[in-house]
């Protein structure tokens, strides 16, 4: 069984982002970029399944700037075998990403597509579900546990109120939650090996999918600022402030 893992290049999760003063977006110049953390967990999970003898090959795909090659190489250093990069100049919306992935699924015939549950830049949480709907495959989102057993997968998902266990007939779509695993640190030899792994680069537009955005972003603004707070020196003072000043007790 082949596993396909889509990975996204995004501003590193530790960076405090800056909204451009002209409202045109978020500043990405000279900002540290990394693989979306949820996607890294997806890569790690796929590689673990391969190491356990349950998958034959792990193929990663990234859609976007040519610089996403770095992201693909990072995934290869974790253990992915092969990469595909679909380049495009402007941001590609989740719907178009899902449609591009449908094309790749037709080409590659994976038994499992593992995706991050959301990308920490647009926080959309859509692509996996959209892909599942377009393919007519089963989906399990926010996976905290994934067990593959022959032609099915049992997934424990984090849901409001607790956990939900689902059994999916393969092929299927799984999206990852933070607790699924702790991605490994790539070793230096594996980083070097990753540079030589096969990477197929194509223009996203060559796949015959409409990539024009459907939503119009009119502007991006700062969130409302909170007024600055004060330090209190004792529990007694805190309780008095909460009671008399803030009036929340």
């Amino acid at each position: 069984m082949k596993i396909l893992v889509p990975v996204k290049r995004a501003i590193d999760y530790k960076v405090t982002i800056r909204v451009k003063p002209d409202g045109s977006g978020v500043d990405t110049d000279n900002v540290k970029m990394s693989m979306n953390p949820f996607d890294e967990i997806a890569v790690e999970q796929a590689v673990r399944l391969k190491e356990a003898g349950q998958a034959s090959e792990v193929v990663v795909v990234s859609i976007g700037s040519p610089k996403a090659e770095d992201t693909i190489r990072t995934a290869m250093a974790i253990g992915a075998d092969r990469g595909m990069l679909l380049t495009h100049d402007t941001a590609v919306e989740p719907l178009a990403v899902a449609k591009l992935l449908v094309k790749l699924v037709e080409e590659e015939q994976p038994g499992l597509v593992i995706l991050g549950k959301q990308a920490i830049d647009n926080d959309a949480n859509q692509t996996g579900q959209m892909l599942s709907a377009l393919l007519g495959w089963g989906q399990a989102t926010s996976a905290a546990e994934l067990v593959v057993d022959g032609d099915s997968a049992t997934v424990t998902s984090e849901i409001d109120g607790g956990l939900q266990k689902l059994r999916l007939t393969l092929p299927a779509i799984v999206t990852t939650e933070l607790g699924l695993n702790q991605p490994r640190n790539a070793t230096l030899p594996n980083v070097i090996k990753a540079k030589k792994k096969p990477l197929d680069v194509r223009e996203a537009s060559s796949l015959g999918v409409d990539l024009d955005p459907r939503l119009k972003v009119t502007k991006v603004t700062e969130p409302p600022a909170r007024k600055s707070g004060i330090q209190v020196n004792s529990v007694e003072e805190l309780v008095a402030k909460l009671r008399d000043e803030a009036q929340v007790l």
Binding site: V19, N122, N125, G162, L163, L242
Partner: protein, 310 residues
């Protein structure tokens, strides 16, 4: 404009998320229908009919809908979607699972997690963990999920008619095995007026329970946690507050031994008053806190519990 809102429920009770998402729907403007889909959820349909501003409740009842699996629910919604310009749901785990499928099947892009309605096709939504706000416009038919903490609940003075709708033959490639849910007497986290949260520094589940829970109970508060506290097993995943957990908007949020990572504070920015208790005066949480108390939480939190219990 005709709007279909997916009701959030567990076959027994209508979740308060629905009344809040309804407010967003009414701000979009037009005739709002509520879809109650499940098994044996007649009581829920009746409760939905009482929400103010609902023109009609569509009640779909079938064994296949018992667990509201995303594959089936999305097909059901698509089967009635023709008559609607706007399809929306609260951004709960059900809404997040179902609505992107609906959007894809209708060849539409979803607008996720709106926090404000600026016009019938114009919305605001947080991106980058709420550190930026994206203003977006759709061009016609639209699929939306709603961040419910951003909207007040609609009243319950309505009396809408309930219409049974037929359920298409549904088969899912996913099979439900079980739900493992945590029941609690405490208020629901996302709608609680007070929230007490603990972080990794609690050190163990025993200490989390011994230190955080008594303060929460003394205040009648819901309990929250940082992701690290969840990963360490101190708290169930359902308590996670933040970018990738729950958004809360209480009057009072007390963060105990939580550093204030970007991803955590993303979930608490709408709290009216934030109190942080942390031993590190440089902890980032203090930048956000209205009241900062520097010190050891193992002394200060029990002292606070005693003080508010008086």
């Amino acid at each position: 404009m005709k709007i279909l809102l997916l009701a959030e429920h567990d076959n027994q009770t209508l979740s308060p998320h629905t009344a809040r998402a309804l407010t967003a729907a009414r701000q979009i403007g037009g005739e709002v229908h509520l879809l109650v889909a499940g098994q044996g959820c007649g009581h829920v349909a009746e409760a939905a009919a009482r929400l103010s501003g609902v023109a009609k409740v569509l009640h779909a009842d079938a064994p296949a809908l018992a667990h509201q699996l995303a594959e089936l629910l999305s097909e059901l919604i698509v089967s009635v979607a023709d008559g609607y310009d706007t399809l929306l749901a609260p951004a709960t785990s059900t809404g997040k699972n179902v609505m992107p499928r609906v959007a894809a099947l209708l060849d539409l892009m979803q607008v996720s997690d709106i926090i404000a309605v600026d016009g019938p096709n114009s919305f605001r939504r947080p991106i980058y963990a709420g550190n930026a706000i994206e203003h977006v416009e759709t061009s016609g038919k639209q699929v939306i999920t709603v961040r419910t903490t951003a909207f007040v609940p609609a009243d319950t003075e309505g009396a809408a008619p309930i219409e049974q709708i037929s359920v298409p033959d549904l088969a899912s490639p996913a099979e439900w095995i079980e739900d493992i849910t945590v029941t609690t007497e405490r208020p629901e986290l996302t709608s609680a007026k007070r929230v007490v949260s603990g972080g990794r520094s609690l050190g163990s589940k025993e200490k989390f329970d011994a230190v955080i829970l008594p303060l929460a109970d003394a205040l009648g508060a819901a309990v929250g946690a940082s992701r690290d506290a969840v990963d360490e097993g101190f708290a169930p995943n359902d308590w996670q507050v933040g970018q990738t957990g729950k958004t809360v908007a209480p009057e009072l949020y007390i963060a105990c031994g939580i550093s204030g990572a970007i991803q955590h504070v993303a979930g608490i920015k709408d709290a009216k008053v934030i109190v942080a208790i942390n031993s590190d005066p440089e902890a980032p949480i203090f930048k956000l806190a209205d009241y900062a108390l520097v010190g050891d939480l193992f002394e200060l939190v029990p002292e606070l519990t005693r003080a508010v219990s008086k």
